[in-house]
Assembly symmetry: C2
Homo-oligomer: 209 residues x 2
């Protein structure tokens, strides 16, 4: 049952342990926040001595910063499908699909992001002011073009984006509440139904259907 005990290469060791630590850290930070998380708990979950964590990530904040950064990258790439779409039905529909998939597959990442923003973003304020702001204004122009072309109703683009973020991330951040009301984890069919519901209501809400 044990893994192959063949000696690992240097680069493999580093990659494997960093991945192990990051995975455990994401979960612990998501469930306890930065202040509530402890290096000891992360170490236990990763199956490593605490001192080994500090070898790869000198401080707790370094580890946290890395976790948030990784999430932000995934999160940004979700919009790629939106850009070359001919109109809102394809573009926003694909964006909702991508964001719902992320909520399902990376719920902890979404929670860490939420924790960080609620904490007034002490370590990602620069992301918000540079990358996210640039990303947002680009999508605002795209939506304004669709409106000008008569492909959707004249809604406020920024509030539409907030609604997209809020609705899709809610299924990750408030997953526990939803599962409680649902009396159990969401099945494949449940996720399909959730995604369809969100798509239908929003696309009709912006007059694209």
């Amino acid at each position: 049952m044990t893994d192959t005990p063949r000696p690992l290469r240097r680069t493999e060791i580093r990659q494997q342990n960093e991945a192990l630590i990051l995975q455990a850290a994401e979960k612990v930070f998501a469930e306890a926040g930065f202040g509530g998380a402890t290096m000891q708990l992360i170490a236990d979950m990763a199956g490593l001595p605490k001192a080994n964590l500090h070898y790869y990530f000198p401080t707790k904040e370094d580890l946290y910063r890395r976790v948030v950064h990784d999430i932000f990258e995934i999160w940004l790439h979700a919009a790629d499908s939106m850009d070359q779409a001919p109109g809102p039905i394809e573009g926003i529909g694909a964006y909702i699909q991508a964001k719902m998939d992320i909520s399902r597959r990376h719920p902890n990442g979404s929670k860490v992001w939420a924790f960080e923003v609620m904490h007034r973003a002490p370590v990602i304020q620069d992301y918000l002011e540079t990358t996210l702001r640039a990303w947002t204004s680009g999508r605002v122009r795209l939506i304004e073009r669709w409106i000008a072309e008569g492909k959707m109703a004249p809604v406020d683009p920024e509030h539409l984006l907030y609604m997209l973020w809020a609705t899709t991330q809610h299924y990750a951040d408030f997953g526990h509440q939803i599962e409680t009301l649902n009396a159990g984890p969401l099945s494949d069919a449940d996720w399909q139904k959730a995604t369809d519901s969100v798509k239908t209501m929003i696309l009709r809400g912006i007059g694209a259907l």
Copy 2:
């Protein structure tokens, strides 16, 4: 400049100090979560010695539980306007209005609730399973009736409720992100515009307009 130094009555002292502590605690819990918050920080913000906090609230968890409970009460009453409405335009419109007002006036409360749910609701699980579940199934029936009466499109009632919660609470929970993108706090006009946008998109999204 000092307040009237007239002697306070016993009941006044208790009420005033509890209110002071709860207000400070709400803010600290909202910005740091349960684990990240410290009794010392809450005490400093309330302008009281730490030992005095433990006189009114024996443990940190007692204080936290009280904060969450107070929020939940406010939050539940927001739905009163929904019940006697003749249809979704008035009912859901009023609910959105009430929830947006709460997001503006009690942003910290909303954040504490979010923290708690993300933390897998260790102290409010009973609320979720009893009060919230009962509340939800009541509104689901109301929405189903409106659909049966042809007053709105046949959307899934539960996912509509999730969308209402997600969209309105987003303006509290992610307020910092929104303010950063907005390059400053939201004005009266900004809040009005936000509320109108949410109302319009959702009401059209459910086929009520």
